[in-house]
């Protein structure tokens, strides 16, 4: 298969990469990467987390300097010195983690990314024009921190569109969108490509790439493992190029729910963060031996909900959180652990684990109650043994219990953290974004372990932004939107489309009493038991 199509059609590629290499001290990000895209082409850059996609895009955009190789823009070799230069050439980039400034307005944010010193008044008008033309409504005068995640992405995109880009790079754009919003984004992208703009679409989501893209370059471990046309491929064949083997699927099996272990009874709390989301009248029950999933785009109250459950934020009314039969609202995280709660947070380095500490020390972080502290003194040998057990059972690739947490790859660290919590044999297990940023093999492993834990009788709550994952592991599924929680539906009775609608806050009884629907579910559940 040819790496370039220039020879066959005679059209000069808009962008061509040859032999791009970038090596960091601890990892090879890109090695000898070639890629070619024509004007108007929607070109996917496919690979799992850690494959080197983001680094490659940063090289194109001038944020990172390459170590070797060359880049051709419209047929001519070019050195992109910095992002401003990239913008001059006509390259725009929408980052996965937005580069917006919360305390400034939309207009000010856009102005910062444009060359020269544009006047804010006329700029606001242009923003409105562009936003209407491409179906991305946004108010220029609003402060960015008051925008939803989807709206912020629109600002990022508009910022790029204002410089009339010839190449638009989108880095994992749909991780923050509902399924319906994804559809609208694809319309916008098709319109752009129809006008001759080349789009580089970075993703690891095979179904989206099949729907949208006409060409794909597959990366694995920093190297190109293939070029293909996604329309002619199956998800399995692309997965094989992406990870080198078939996509693993965890064994789900049926759930046998038992007694209620975690109950949220009208949980309501104002967010301590001025930019956060207030929780409102949340009702949920998680029983022993079942997995309840909570879907939702980030920024809808997940942080606040998890903090209220874990005990990191205590709430005034102790009745609103009931843990293993105990009213736990006022209890702190340590006391809730005593009741049998274990929690895996979304942020690994810095919250789930201390980056500069060894794995043994990090094990001590939450497992200390299991006999590793005697008379106020730490039992070093015992905790090291526990860490070793965790490393072995969860196949954590590292140099041993004394390895520093930050030296592990994302997937391995997550395996360690999940293992540390599960090995404590919790009665209630809460996990947020269990496989975000984790390679496919480790992700499947983690999901299987969670299912196994359910089969052992634990009550499990999974909060995730990946709908595929939730449909794979959950027994019941609820949606959180703007601080409110939908009733939890058995997984077999719902589908992606319905959940997508619910993610906009529109579930039955959303404006009425969520409690009534939850009680109905409880009664039905009791009848089944």
């Amino acid at each position: 298969m040819n790496a370039t199509t220039a020879g066959t059609t005679g059209v000069v590629p808009r962008i061509e990469l040859r032999g791009i290499t970038k090596i960091y001290p601890s990892v090879v990000a890109n090695r000898d990467v070639t890629l070619s895209a024509l004007p108007g082409e929607i070109h996917a850059v496919l690979g799992e987390n850690g494959a080197g996609k983001s680094t490659l895009m940063k090289i194109i955009y001038g944020v990172v300097k390459r170590d070797a190789g060359e880049m051709l823009w419209q047929g001519k070799p070019v050195e992109v010195a910095n992002p401003a230069h990239a913008r001059d050439l006509g390259i725009g980039m929408v980052f996965q983690h937005f580069s917006l400034f919360d305390t400034l307005t939309v207009v000010e944010n856009v102005a910062l990314a444009l060359p020269g010193k544009p006047a804010l008044g006329p700029l606001a008008k242009r923003i409105v024009e562009v936003s209407e033309r491409y179906g991305l409504p946004v108010d220029p005068r609003r402060l960015v921190h008051s925008l939803s995640v989807g709206e912020r992405q629109r600002v990022e995109i508009i910022r790029c569109l204002l410089v009339d880009p010839k190449l638009l790079i989108m880095d994992e754009p749909t991780s923050v969108l509902t399924p319906q919003a994804v559809r609208k984004l694809f319309e916008t992208l098709r319109k752009l490509s129809g006008e001759g703009c080349t789009i580089l679409y970075i993703s690891h989501k095979l179904d989206e790439i099949q729907e949208l893209c006409t060409h794909a370059t597959v990366l694995r471990g920093g190297e190109v493992t293939g070029h293909c046309d996604p329309r002619n491929e199956t998800p399995q064949s692309m997965a094989r190029m992406m990870i080198g083997k078939d996509l693993p699927h965890p064994q789900h099996g049926a759930a046998t729910p038992g007694v209620a272990r975690l109950t949220l009874a009208g949980l309501a709390r104002k967010s301590p963060d001025p930019f956060g989301v207030d929780l409102d009248d949340i009702h949920l029950t998680v029983h022993a031996g079942e997995i309840v999933g909570i879907a939702g785009v980030s920024g809808n109250g997940q942080q606040e909900l998890l903090a209220a459950i874990s005990g990191e934020e205590r709430i005034g009314n102790r009745r609103q959180v009931v843990l293993c039969g105990v009213e736990a609202g006022r209890l702190g995280a340590a006391r809730r652990r005593k009741l049998g709660l274990c929690f895996v947070p979304e942020e690994r380095l810095g919250r789930g684990a201390v980056p500069d500490m060894s794995l043994a020390d990090n094990a001590l972080l939450t497992a200390h109650r299991r006999g590793f502290v005697k008379g106020g003194m730490i039992r070093f040998k015992a905790i090291a043994r526990f860490a070793k057990t965790c490393i072995d059972q969860y196949t954590v690739k590292c140099s041993g219990p004394q390895a520093e947490a930050k030296s592990l790859s994302g997937g391995n660290l997550q395996k360690f953290i999940v293992g540390r919590e599960i090995l404590q044999q919790p009665t209630v297990f809460v996990v947020a974004q269990p496989t975000w940023g984790v390679d496919v093999g480790a992700a499947a492993f983690i999901r299987q372990k969670i299912i196994d834990l359910r089969n052992d009788g634990a009550a499990i709550l999974v909060v995730s932004e990946e709908l595929d994952e939730l449909f794979e592991v959950s027994d019941r599924l609820a949606v959180i939107a703007k601080g409110r929680l939908s009733p939890a539906k058995p997984i077999r009775e719902t589908n992606v489309e319905e959940i997508g609608v619910w993610m906009s806050g529109m579930w039955p009884g959303a404006n009425g009493s969520a409690r009534a629907t939850e009680r109905q579910d409880e009664e039905r559940h009791a009848a089944q038991a």
């Binding site: 944020v63 913008r87 937005f98 580069s99 400034f101 400034l104 910062l112 010193k117 001025p274």
Partner: protein, 305 residues
């Protein structure tokens, strides 16, 4: 009523070193850099200014020397924290301790030297206005300069493109870098400006306000300036107000004695420091206010890829 005018005028004069130091630190902090070395920079600026004025006989040359010395001190800090990625809090403390030692060392020979007082200037016409005139317009030239600096800082931060860029860097250096702004270079400039202002504040103190050199004469004003920036929630107008209020508290002891109020001398001397604590408590209580106004990246090391 007769006493009010000299009190207000004295408060403004006393608050001027704070104005310089606090406005300088405000710009530095707006870019995301926390420089705790203000006290050290003021001390070095004070002795540099005094020594230059004493040896050359030119007070204004001394003021310039003070600014240069302050900027030089700030550059050590910038090198450590911006290029070598050292911890900002520790480096700022080190700068203060170093400044204390350096200024005491250089200043030994100048301890009994006296300077010719100079530099006050009554602005014609304006100084004739009843009440406001004598208070505001019969001040030292550097007081007027401090007002110009205030105006300049306001315009720069809120009306200029460069100021917008600086604020964005303080908010999120990673995003600013991704867009392509030279984060380190702008932070260097902001830090140097803060140092120059601190040095000027120190020079004002030793050359014009006192005027003399005594070891440690800045007496904690650098720290008060830091507290002022927090108290003012990083807004220049509030900094001015706070600085003059503190100026007033500083001179309270003299006026209490003059008014025949019998309070222990040491208690009056301690007043500015106690007031600083009170003011800090009041403003810090509302976590949201701090969160909404402080530069998000303040004090955190920035590592370019």
């Amino acid at each position: 009523m007769d006493n009010i005018i000299p009190i207000l005028a004295a408060a403004i004069a006393a608050g001027t070193p704070l104005v310089f130091a606090a406005l300088g630190e405000l710009v530095t902090e707006k870019s995301g850099v926390l420089n705790l070395g203000v006290e050290g920079m003021m001390l070095v600026g004070a002795i540099a200014g005094f020594a230059t004025a004493a040896t050359t006989g030119n007070l204004w040359l001394g003021a310039l020397a003070g600014m240069a010395a302050g900027a030089a001190m700030a550059s050590i800090f910038a090198l450590l924290t911006l290029n070598l990625m050292a911890n900002q809090v520790a480096s700022g403390l080190a700068l203060t301790l170093f400044g204390v030692g350096l200024s005491a060392f250089i200043g030994k020979p100048f301890e009994s030297v006296s300077l010719i007082k100079g530099g006050t200037f009554d602005i014609p016409l304006l100084s004739q206005i009843p009440l406001l005139g004598p208070v505001l317009f019969r001040q030292h030239v550097l007081v007027y300069v401090s007002w110009l600096v205030f105006g300049g800082v306001c315009w720069f931060l809120y009306r200029s493109r460069a100021g917008l860029v600086l604020r964005s860097i303080g908010e999120s250096p990673d995003s600013a870098h991704a867009i392509g702004y030279p984060v380190i270079r702008i932070r260097w400039l902001a830090t140097l400006f803060g140092g120059a202002m601190a040095g000027l504040g120190g020079a004002h103190l030793s050359e014009f306000y006192a005027p003399m050199w005594v070891e440690g004469m800045v007496a904690g004003r650098g720290w008060i300036a830091l507290a002022l920036v927090v108290f003012a929630t990083w807004r220049p107008a509030r900094v001015m107000l706070g600085a003059y209020l503190f100026g007033g508290v500083t001179i309270a002891q003299f006026f209490a004695q003059g008014a025949g109020i019998d309070v222990t001398a040491q208690l009056l001397s301690a007043l500015p420091y106690l007031a600083t604590i009170v003011v800090l408590v009041i403003i810090s209580r509302n976590v949201n206010t701090i969160r909404l106004n402080s530069p998000v990246s303040l004090g955190r090391s920035y590592r370019p890829d």
